[in-house]
């Protein structure tokens, strides 16, 4: 009897020892980070944007000013790279679930139409809250669809020609000589500058046709027809003129070639180039090199000589705010409308604190817009930009801006290699038609 007991006890112990590990459960709590506001109260507004020195900073000012209007709303600003925002938006909107999406998102004007068309119900209509006519006309085409206003137009991409007055002087020209000129005159001056100072006139990245875009928009033309979908390359007179001008510019041997943004910035900061034809948002970067203070001026963009419609004003870049059709959309729309949609005071702050030139027409009357800038020799740059903004021809960027540009970059190389211009554009048209739709 006793022996049996012992054996039993030993057996029980062995069993227990072997079975002990089963209890060690690994409790893998997998809490996916949910940046959305599904669980939060509708008083939370989540905003996605890129560029902490520009867009994020502007949104923070809006957040601050809204605290005085409605302190209950908690604005939560999240920074992502632009590519990430595009990817997350596409993923989220395609999946049909709105969880994880923000209330407010910043979208580049060139891409806005593709989102508005692809996801017709995903964006909240802002017609009742803002008036389209309050904003620069050229912004409306990209931020609205079928006559309905979706976006709150934000920064102006109005372009200007930043010039080094000292280099011009050395080459025998005054600022007035390059003001409101056409590109041929620009090239002529460039040659003189190169000859007299050894400096390049401007930089170009062969992979970025921003210059072409500025040229054609100054003539009220675009890569696409007014419907926003049909490629308009082959018989686009403005585009032809722009290509020809571009080639002439390159062949003038006054262009410093750069491969990326960093080299672009380095070129003018180091004094390698005499002009920078680009959007007004480059102002902070130009002013970053304090030693060049007083040596710069901003003049209107040159226009196309052979295109009658071309004016001395254009646009490059720029983006707008959109409200997504998710929980809390009313709060978010209210927030946008009361701040960036109408607040003139806020726009004064945006100019002085960050250097953002908005597209709200009323803002141009404010004090900050009329300030002078010693870096640019006492020029009222903001006021000038605001004035030029009103002159920008309105075009519908439509969809596919960047897809077509990829085609054109390659064709431009062919063109410069000696291929006939009509042939080049025909090829581009054919490629665009086959690739898109």
């Amino acid at each position: 009897m006793k022996k049996m007991l012992l054996t039993l006890a030993a057996a029980v112990m062995t069993l227990t020892a072997c079975g002990g590990n089963n209890a060690n459960e690994q409790n893998a709590a997998n809490n996916a980070g949910n940046t959305g506001n599904a669980a939060a109260a509708t008083k939370d507004v989540t905003v996605w944007a890129w560029d902490p020195n520009f867009n994020i900073a502007a949104m923070k000012l809006a957040q601050e000013s809204y605290k005085a209007i409605n302190p209950d709303v908690n604005v939560n600003i999240v920074e992502y790279a632009q590519a990430d925002i595009i990817q997350k938006l596409n993923t989220g909107l395609n999946s049909g679930t709105t969880s994880g999406l923000p209330n407010v998102v910043l979208i580049e004007d060139y891409r806005a139409q593709s989102f508005l068309k692809a996801y017709p119900d995903a964006f909240y209509k802002m017609d009742d809250l803002i008036k389209s006519s309050d904003f620069a006309d050229y912004k409306i085409a990209s931020t609205s669809l079928d006559g309905v206003q979706y976006g709150v137009p934000f920064d102006s991409g109005v372009t200007g020609l930043y010039v080094r007055t000292d280099y011009l002087q050395e080459a025998g020209y005054s600022v007035a000589d390059i003001t409101n000129v056409d590109w041929d005159k620009f090239i002529e001056i460039g040659k003189a500058v190169k000859a007299k100072t050894g400096k390049y006139m401007l930089t170009q990245d062969p992979n970025d046709l921003g210059l072409i875009r500025m040229m054609i928009q100054s003539a009220g033309a675009w890569y696409l027809k007014a419907d926003g979908t049909t490629p308009d390359l082959k018989d686009n007179a403005a585009l032809k003129d722009a290509f020809a001008t571009y080639k002439t510019l390159m062949e003038s041997d006054t262009v410093k070639i750069t491969a990326d943004w960093s080299q672009f910035l380095a070129a003018f900061n180091s004094g390698d180039v005499a002009t920078v034809p680009t959007g007004n948002w480059i102002t902070p970067s130009v002013k970053a090199e304090a030693s060049q203070s007083g040596k710069w001026a901003v003049v209107p963009m040159p226009k196309l000589k052979n295109t009658a419609s071309s004016v001395n004003a254009s646009n490059l870049g720029g983006s707008s705010w959109y409200v997504l059709n998710v929980d809390g959309k009313e709060t978010a729309a209210e927030f946008l409308a009361k701040t960036l949609g109408s607040d003139v005071e806020l726009y004064q702050k945006l100019v002085t604190d960050i250097g953002v030139i908005g597209t709200l027409k009323a803002a141009a009357t404010g004090e900050a817009y009329n300030a002078t800038d010693e870096f640019f020799g006492g020029q009222k740059t903001v006021s000038d930009f605001a004035a030029w903004t009103q002159q920008i021809p309105q075009v519908n960027y439509g969809m596919h801006t960047y897809a077509i540009e990829d085609i054109l970059v390659a064709e431009m190389q062919n063109y410069m290699g000696g291929t006939d211009l009509n042939k080049v554009l025909e090829n581009a048209q054919a490629q665009a038609e086959s690739q898109l739709q």
Partner: protein
């Protein structure tokens, strides 16, 4: 041992069994637990080294896949003429430059699209100002700083191979650690170095190759040949040197060990390692031994073992006590048997052995009792035989004297008294000769006694008077034959030595269940203290009627009726003698 056993010996059976059992149970449980823990630990270590070796193999494969795509990219970059042209040519026209830049960019995009890891920043440095950055986020400082960096010098020193470096720079990488694959770009035919290629991956992206396999206490480190930890899921270790780990990793590599261990104040870890020849890095997988110990429920094993031991001991205690209790009872009962009498039979219960033992003991008692009864019977018969023999020895002197007295009476012509005397003698003889075992009524015994007294008075004269006080309710009581006669005889011949007159009283009465017979004389008495025996031995006396003496009477009563009955004497010199005979009162049932 002997001493210990001696110490144990005085303990009871129960205590001995219990102590031995307690020691056995505890040692068996302890040994089993210990062996279980040891075996499980060994098993875990074996399983661990097996699975973690596989994990390390998997990590190694990930790294090799990455390396292969890096190698492919670097080969394509080296073979590309447009890249070589871009890096070599300087000072051409804008159009030529634009074409070169475009082709370079185009070429690099095409090549890099083959890279299946996105988070790689590629930098191609040419001589002079020509360079290409696929992404600016990796090297934040100027191009010249990178050219002057140690990493470029290392790359150019070994132009023929692809090397991996650890790069951490206050400005250049903003303090963030990078892993950099670098290669000098060399014209194969002219052996001229025309540039260098850097493929940078952030440590946190590099980590992706193995981070799936890590967990708390299960760490992976990537270490270069100098012991510098280039990547780890333990971020605080990145950029540190660990010679200890390096030597362990090298030992594992050289001796082809399955695993190794490091034990010091700060950590106690198991290490599995492998060498990445293409990187010249070591993959080191460390598992905290505490994790192993946590996975083994040592405390649980001990707790369960303790619980089982306690339960077993409790059960053991109860069962052992129950088993030994019947034995203890047996022992107690047996000892009481020896003290008292042989009729204490034992209660039969308990276990089989105890029951058998009890039965055997009771059987032995039975045997013993029957033997003793036989012995008593034999003795009684023997005594009876002796009595009968004594009874039949009628003293010839008595007969002679009596007959001489009768003769004398006849000669005196006192015929009536002679006849009476003869008659008394006849009656006496009749009683004596018949069976000694027979009982008589008190009445008959008293008649016999009177006959005896009559004869003696005839012989010695009527000086001694005998009076009888017989309680009427005692007349029918039974007494053994000739029970009173020896005392009467004693009174006649010893009570009145040298005197011719006196009194003898015979009193018979009933006291509940006892018959009291008293024979009292007022003779000379005797000193009981000086004599050896309480009862005088009268066998040798010539006056005796039969051979039965008073001592015999006492023995006979004890034999027949037990120790509660018998003869007692009270006497003092000069004050007479009082004899008391106590017998059970037995009336004639008929």
């Amino acid at each position: 041992m002997k001493k210990l056993w001696d110490k144990l010996t005085p303990l009871s059976l129960f205590e001995k069994i219990f102590i031995v059992m307690v020691i056995s149970v505890i040692s068996v449980a302890g040994m089993t637990s210990w062996i279980t823990v040891q075996v499980s630990q060994q098993l875990f270590l074996n399983t661990f080294s097996l699975t973690n070796s596989k994990i390390v193999q998997q990590i190694k494969r990930n790294f090799e896949t990455f390396n292969y795509s890096v190698v492919t990219v670097s080969n394509e970059v080296m073979q590309s003429a447009s890249i070589r042209n871009f890096l070599s040519q300087t000072g051409s026209s804008s159009v030529t430059n634009a074409t070169a830049f475009y082709k370079m960019t185009e070429q690099m995009r095409r090549i890099l699209s083959g890279l299946d890891v996105n988070e790689v920043g590629t930098i191609v440095l040419g001589r002079d100002e020509r360079n290409y950055f696929s992404e600016r986020g990796y090297w934040l400082s100027s191009v010249d700083k990178l050219k002057d960096h140690n990493i470029t010098a290392l790359t150019l020193n070994e132009p023929s191979s692809l090397n991996y470096h650890f790069l951490e720079d206050e400005v250049g990488t903003n303090g963030e650690p990078l892993i950099v694959a670098s290669r000098a770009l060399m014209n194969r035919s002219t052996k001229e170095i025309y540039g260098s290629l850097f493929m940078m991956i952030r440590e946190r992206d590099f980590k992706q190759f193995y981070s799936n396999f890590t967990s708390t206490g299960n760490d992976v480190l990537i270490m270069d040949r100098s012991g510098l930890i280039v990547s780890s899921n333990r971020e605080e270790k990145i950029g540190q040197y660990s010679n200890e780990l390096l030597s362990q990793a090298q030992e594992i590599q050289d001796k082809r060990l399955k695993y190794s261990t490091i034990q010091n104040e700060s950590e106690n870890v198991i290490i599995v390692s492998d060498y990445l020849p293409t990187y010249d890095f070591y993959i080191v997988n460390m598992v905290d031994k505490k994790l192993v110990d946590n996975m083994l429920p040592v405390t649980r094993i001990i707790l369960v073992a303790t619980a089982i031991i306690s339960a077993a001991l409790l059960i053991l205690f109860l069962i052992t006590r129950r088993l030994t209790r019947s034995l203890r009872m047996l022992v107690r009962q047996m000892s009481s048997v020896t003290k008292r009498n042989l009729h204490n039979y034992i209660e039969i219960n308990g276990s089989y052995e105890t029951r058998q033992l009890g039965t055997a003991f009771n059987y032995m008692l039975d045997e013993l009792n029957s033997y003793i009864r036989q012995l008593v019977d034999t003795q009684r018969e023997q005594r009876n035989a002796e009595l009968a023999a004594l009874q039949r020895q009628i003293n010839p002197h008595f007969l002679y004297n009596t007959l001489a007295s009768v003769n004398f009476l006849v000669q005196r012509k006192d015929n009536q008294k002679a006849t009476e005397t003869i008659h008394a003698l006849i009656s006496l003889l009749q009683n004596s000769i018949s069976n000694v075992e027979e009982t008589l009524t008190v009445e008959q015994e008293v008649v016999n006694l009177k006959h005896y007294v009559f004869i003696n008075q005839v012989r010695y004269g009527p000086g001694i008077t005998v009076d009888y006080f017989i309680s009427p309710d005692c007349l029918d009581a039974k007494v053994p034959k000739l029970i009173l006669q020896p005392f009467m005889e004693n009174a006649f011949f010893h009570g009145f030595k040298g005197r011719n007159n006196g009194y003898i009283y015979v009193m018979i009465s009933r006291e509940v269940d006892t018959l009291r017979c008293e024979i009292v004389d007022n003779g000379v008495g005797m000193d009981l203290n000086t004599e050896r025996d309480a009862l005088p031995d009268s066998t040798s006396n010539s006056h005796l009627f039969t051979g039965i003496g008073i001592r015999n009477v006492h023995a006979r009563i004890l034999l027949i009726y037990g120790k509660d009955y018998g003869v007692s004497i009270q006497s003092r010199p000069g004050e007479g003698t009082k004899i008391m005979i106590r017998l059970p009162f037995q009336a004639d049932e008929t």
